[in-house]
C-alpha cells in the first residue's frame, strides 16, 4: 500500500517543522539563561574547590580549604565566628518568618472581611512599600531607629537598650527589617487562601465548637495551610540569603550568611570561601524548596505552591 510508504515523509516533515519551531522560540532564552546563569553557577561551584590565591582570586590546586575555613578552621586554629554567622542566619530566618505569619494572618483575614471593591486597594496598600528599593526601605528604618530618635529614646527610657546606643545597629533591627521586607509575600498567598475559604464550613464549625479559637483551628486554619506554605517559601528562602538588611541594619554583630559570602568577593577577598558559602546557601535553598514541595503534596494543595 502506498499508505505505509507515505506515512514517514508527511509525519517526519511535520515533526521536523515542529522541532525547528521549538528551537527557534525557546533557544534564545534557554541559551541566554544557560550561558549567563548556569555556566556562572557551575563556575562558582568549581571555585569553591580551589585554593585561595594572594589577591583573593582562586588558584589551583583543588582543595577543601574553603569548606574548612567556612567551618571555622583557620591559621590560628578553630574559631566559632562563621558558625555563629550561620546559626544567626537560621535563627533570624526562623524568627522573622514566625513573626511575619503572626502579623500577616490577621491582616489577610481583615482584608477578606472588607467589602469586595475595597479589597484590591487594601492589598495594593500592603504591597506598595515593597515596590520601593530595599536599600531605601532599610535606610528608612535606619532613620527611625538611630540613636536620638523618639523610638530609641523610648527604648532607652524603658531600659531596653544601653544609653545612647539606639535601636540600630542590632539583631533586633535586622529582624524588624526582615519582617518589614517580607510581610507582603505572606499576606498575598494567605489572602488568596482566605478568599477561597468555604464559608459554609466555617459557619458549621462556629456552631459545632464552643469557642471561636477552636472553630478557627478546626475549620479555618487547615484550609489556609496551602497559602501559608506558599508564603513560607516566599519568605524563608530569600530571608536566609538576605544581604542588604543585615549589612545596613545589623552592623558587625548582625552579620548573616549573605554578608559572609558577599564580603569574600568585595572586602576581604577570598573567592573560594565565598563560593563555599554560596554552595551552603544553595543547598539550604533546595532543601527548603524540596521540603515545601513534599509538604505541599501531602496537603493536596500542590498548585498553590507555585515553585
Amino acid at each position: 500500500m502506498s499508505y505505509s510508504g507515505a506515512v514517514p515523509t508527511a509525519r517526519s516533515r511535520a515533526m521536523v517543522r515542529e522541532t525547528r519551531h521549538l528551537l527557534f522560540s525557546v533557544a534564545p532564552g534557554a541559551v541566554w539563561i544557560f550561558i549567563f546563569l548556569v555556566l556562572p553557577s557551575a563556575y562558582l561551584m568549581g571555585v569553591a574547590f580551589m585554593t585561595n590565591g594572594p589577591y583573593g582570586l582562586p588558584q589551583m590546586p583543588l582543595s577543601l580549604d574553603a569548606f574548612e575555613r567556612l567551618a571555622g578552621v583557620g591559621f590560628l586554629g578553630w574559631s566559632p565566628g562563621n558558625l555563629y554567622t550561620l546559626l544567626r542566619s537560621l535563627w533570624q530566618t526562623l524568627v522573622s518568618t514566625v513573626l511575619v505569619v503572626i502579623v500577616a494572618y490577621p491582616v489577610a483575614y481583615y482584608i477578606t472581611t472588607c467589602r469586595e471593591k475595597w479589597r484590591p486597594i487594601l492589598l495594593l496598600l500592603v504591597v506598595v512599600p515593597s515596590w520601593t528599593n530595599q536599600v531605601i526601605r532599610a535606610f528608612g528604618w535606619m532613620n527611625l531607629l538611630a540613636p536620638g530618635t523618639p523610638l530609641s529614646s523610648l527604648a532607652e527610657s524603658l531600659g531596653l537598650v544601653a544609653p545612647n546606643m539606639g535601636l540600630y545597629p542590632s539583631n533586633f533591627a535586622v529582624t524588624l527589617g526582615l519582617v518589614y521586607n517580607f510581610l507582603p509575600f505572606m499576606v498575598l498567598p494567605l489572602y488568596a487562601a482566605f478568599e477561597k475559604l468555604d464559608t459554609a464550613q466555617v459557619q458549621a464549625a462556629q456552631d459545632l465548637y464552643a469557642s471561636p479559637v477552636r472553630a478557627f483551628w478546626h475549620a479555618v486554619f487547615p484550609q489556609t495551610l496551602p497559602g501559608l506554605l506558599a508564603g513560607t517559601v516566599l519568605v524563608a528562602i530569600p530571608a536566609f540569603g538576605m544581604y542588604v538588611i543585615p549589612e545596613l541594619l545589623g552592623g558587625g554583630k548582625g552579620m548573616m550568611l549573605g554578608n559572609l559570602v558577599a564580603n569574600q568577593f568585595a572586602g576581604s577577598s577570598n573567592w573560594p570561601l565565598g563560593a563555599a558559602g554560596a554552595i551552603l546557601m544553595l543547598i539550604a535553598t533546595f532543601i527548603g524548596l524540596f521540603a515545601m514541595r513534599r509538604i505541599g503534596k501531602r496537603l493536596g494543595g500542590g498548585e498553590e505552591v507555585v515553585i
Binding site: S2, Y3, A6, V7, A10, R11, A14
Partner: protein, 374 residues
C-alpha cells in the same frame, strides 16, 4: 424528506429574492474529491483509515458519526489545520493536500466560534478580508452587506463578550461567509445552543446555503440534525466511511448494523435461514420484497400497523404489549413476540391505542423490510 424541507425553506415568505444577495447565488461552488486519506495521532490512534469521498459543488454535505469517528479530523484536513499522513485532497479541481490553511479558499465555523476577543464584531467580520489585503473602504461595505444578509442588525457595533451563544454563532457564520470561500466547513456549530434556538438556526443556515449555492460541509453527531439539513450524509465510524447517501437512503436503507443503530433503529434481527424471499428470524417467518441479501433484518417501527386481537394473515405477527409510551402525536410500543421484542410507533389518529398486556397483531409490509450486513 430533505427535498420537501429544502423546497419549504426556499419558498419561505421571509426569504427575499436572490437579488438581495447581490449576485452571490451560485457564485463559485466547488466540488471536493478526497482519496485515500489516512491520519494517525501518536503511535496507534487511527483517526482516518482510508477515506475516499466526493462532495458535489453546491451540496449541503454532512459528516455524521459518534465522537472519535474521524469526522472532525476529516473536516480539519479539509481546512488544512491537519495534514493527512497519506492521500490527496482536491477542491475545485486543484490539489490542495499540502496547501497551508491561510492559502486555501476554505473557511470554517468553529464549534467554539473562536471570535477574536481583542476585536469588535465589525473587526472580527473584516478579519479575513483584511488578511487578504482588501482595502478598508471595500471591507467596510462588504461587512455591511453581510450584516444585512445574515440580519445581524445592531450586533455589528457590540463587543464580542456582550454576545449570547446564538449571536456568536451567527457572527462566526458571517465571518466565514464574508470571505466567499469555495467551501464552507461547519464543525458542530449548533451543538452549544439550546433546542429551540438550535432548530431556528438550522432553518436559517439551510436558507443561507441554498441562497448562496455554496458547498457546505457540516459535521454533527446528531442524526436528526443531519437528516434535516443535508443533501447527502456520510456516516463515519472508526475512521472509515460506512455509508454515503441522501438522508432517506441512509435512514431507510442503512447498509450495516452500525449505521442502523446510529440512525436510531433498534429492530434488528439476525436471519437464521432464508428461502428465496422468505426470511426466518426470532420473530418468525416474514416475506420480504427486494430485501437484499444481508444477514440482518431491519424493521422500522413507524412502518408497522397494529390490529387489535389475534388476526391470521401473511406477515401477521401475534404479540403482547409489554410497554406503551404515549407521546401525544404518536405512541411507542414495546411488543413481546416469541422470545424477543419489537418496537412499533403508531400515529395517534384518535383510534384505539392498545393497552399494556393486550394481545395485538403486527402487520409488516413486505416492501418495508430491509436486510443489511453486520
Amino acid at each position: 424528506m430533505s427535498e420537501t424541507m429544502t423546497a419549504e425553506t426556499a419558498d419561505h415568505p421571509g426569504a427575499r429574492p436572490a437579488a438581495n444577495a447581490r449576485g452571490r447565488a451560485n457564485h463559485k461552488a466547488s466540488s471536493i474529491e478526497m482519496q485515500g486519506l489516512h491520519k494517525r495521532f501518536g503511535r496507534d490512534t487511527v483517526a482516518l483509515d482510508g477515506v475516499d469521498l466526493n462532495i458535489r459543488a453546491g451540496e449541503f454535505f454532512t459528516l455524521l458519526g459518534p465522537s472519535g469517528c474521524g469526522k472532525t479530523t476529516l473536516l480539519r484536513i479539509l481546512a488544512g489545520l491537519e495534514e493527512p499522513d497519506a492521500g490527496s485532497l482536491v477542491v475545485g479541481g486543484k490539489d490542495i493536500t499540502e496547501t497551508p490553511p491561510h492559502q486555501r479558499s476554505v473557511n470554517t465555523v468553529f464549534q467554539s466560534y473562536a471570535l477574536f476577543p481583542h476585536l469588535s464584531v465589525r473587526e472580527n467580520l473584516a478579519f479575513g478580508l483584511k488578511m487578504r489585503g482588501m482595502p478598508a473602504a471595500e471591507r467596510h461595505s462588504k461587512v455591511d452587506e453581510i450584516a444585512d444578509f445574515i440580519k445581524l442588525g445592531d450586533l455589528i457595533d457590540r463587543h464580542v463578550d456582550q454576545l449570547s451563544g446564538g449571536q456568536r454563532q451567527r457572527i462566526a457564520l458571517a465571518r466565514a461567509l464574508i470571505c466567499e470561500p469555495d467551501v464552507l466547513l461547519l464543525d458542530e456549530p449548533l451543538s452549544a445552543l439550546d433546542a429551540g434556538l438550535r432548530s431556528q438556526l438550522q432553518v436559517e443556515l439551510l436558507r443561507v446555503q441554498k441562497r448562496l449555492g455554496m458547498t457546505f460541509v457540516f459535521v454533527t453527531h446528531d442524526q436528526q440534525e443531519a437528516m434535516v439539513m443535508s443533501d447527502r450524509i456520510a456516516v463515519l465510524n472508526g475512521g472509515t466511511i460506512q455509508q454515503v447517501g441522501a438522508p432517506r437512503d441512509v435512514y431507510e436503507r442503512p447498509v450495516n448494523a452500525f449505521v442502523a443503530h446510529f440512525m436510531g433503529h433498534d429492530n434488528l434481527y439476525p436471519i437464521s435461514a432464508r428461502k428465496s424471499d422468505r426470511l426466518i428470524t426470532a420473530l418468525g417467518e416474514l416475506t420480504a420484497e427486494e430485501a437484499g441479501d444481508g444477514e440482518l433484518l431491519l424493521i422500522r417501527p413507524e412502518t408497522l400497523d397494529l390490529l387489535p386481537g389475534a388476526v391470521e394473515g401473511p406477515n401477521h405477527l401475534t404479540a403482547t404489549v409489554a410497554e406503551r409510551l404515549y407521546r401525544g402525536s404518536h405512541a411507542e410500543f414495546r411488543l413481546a413476540i416469541a422470545d424477543t421484542t419489537l418496537q412499533a410507533t403508531v400515529n395517534n389518529r384518535g383510534r384505539h391505542l392498545p393497552e399494556v398486556g393486550e394481545t395485538v397483531t403486527v402487520v409488516v409490509a413486505p416492501e418495508d423490510l430491509v436486510t443489511l450486513s453486520e
